[in-house]
């Protein structure tokens, strides 16, 4: 197992490369998802208000 993590002496390059890529992709994905959810919630709230007004 230790041999696997040492990556033939290249551990200091292989693991940061994989880790950084994973970090960038996860951050982009989560940021995109959260922004979408926030905007959808805003739209729903605004449309809810509209229908309340028309009913009143």
């Amino acid at each position: 197992m230790n041999e696997f993590f040492s990556m033939g002496g290249y551990a200091a390059f292989v693991w940061p490369a994989l880790g950084l890529s994973a970090l960038v992709m996860a951050a982009l994905y989560i940021q995109s998802l959260w922004t979408l959810r926030a905007r959808e919630a805003e739209l729903e709230a605004l449309q809810g208000e509209k229908t309340d007004e028309t009913q009143a």
């Binding site: 390059f13 940061p16 995109s32 905007r39 739209l43």
Partner: protein, 239 residues
């Protein structure tokens, strides 16, 4: 083409595609990483450092692929003025910028042990850095105007002019003497890379592509919802 380029239809179909794209991304990257780290052999010259290739090459390809898509969408936006093509180009830019950054960063981490330098001003590396600046320039320009339509138009022209850089990146390793190794997958005579390395590489490429599709859909939906919000708020202010 025009049948699908309709925002209402896009909202309906993209909602169906999104979970498929997201779950395929997770599955493909998990399988690809397993094959890349446990099954693929070390390189006969580069040893275990070659495993960086399995994220470096897919992100570099995606950087070019996303830019090409952005240029095509920009051309469509300028010619046919269809709102979805502007939205697609705008939503692609940050994704492409992330892939370009990943290609540069992983390349740097691969260059240090293999070439002895984090960075060299070589044709391939320099043209890739220019690509990153094109993405960042696009993102700055598209939001630099009070009128979103003017921003979209200016940014679309930048995307089209910048497209000249894409073939320069692709052929830089053939046109100039560079430290960067030449193509070993997409080349005349077929790939010169063994299946045990080619299979995980291609699986990662497909996984990165479905990732792009998933994030693109989320960002395009965000743009459409935001536009709807803006028009509702404007109507509310008028009442």
């Amino acid at each position: 083409m025009h049948r699908f380029a309709n925002p209402t239809r896009f909202m309906r179909y993209s909602a169906v595609i999104l979970p498929w794209a997201a779950w395929s991304t997770a599955a493909l990257i998990a399988i690809g990483l397993y094959l890349a780290l446990f099954v693929a052999p070390p390189d006969y010259q580069q040893g275990e450092s070659v495993r960086i290739m399995f994220v470096h090459v897919p992100s570099a390809w995606m950087a070019l692929f996303v830019y090409t898509g952005m240029a095509v969408a920009s051309a469509m936006a300028l010619i046919w003025k269809h709102p979805l093509s502007d939205i697609a180009a705008r939503a692609s830019a940050p994704i492409g910028a992330c892939f370009t950054f990943m290609a540069l960063a992983t390349g740097s981490l691969w260059g240090k042990p293999m070439w002895g330098a984090w960075w060299v001003w070589d044709a391939r590396l320099t043209s890739m850095l220019v690509l990153l600046f094109l993405y960042l320039g696009y993102m700055a320009l598209v939001d630099a105007f009070d009128d979103p339509a003017r921003g979209a138009k200016a940014a679309a022209i930048l995307a089209l002019v910048g497209f000249v850089n894409v073939p320069i990146i692709k052929f830089s390793v053939d046109w100039w003497n560079t430290l960067h190794q030449p193509a070993s997958v997409v080349k005349i005579g077929g790939p010169s890379i063994h299946l045990s390395m080619l299979a995980p590489l291609l699986i990662m490429v497909v996984g990165f592509t479905t990732f792009y599709v998933a994030v693109l859909i989320m960002r395009m939906r965000t743009e459409i919802v935001t536009a709807k919000l803006r028009s509702l708020q404007m109507n509310a202010n008028r009442d």
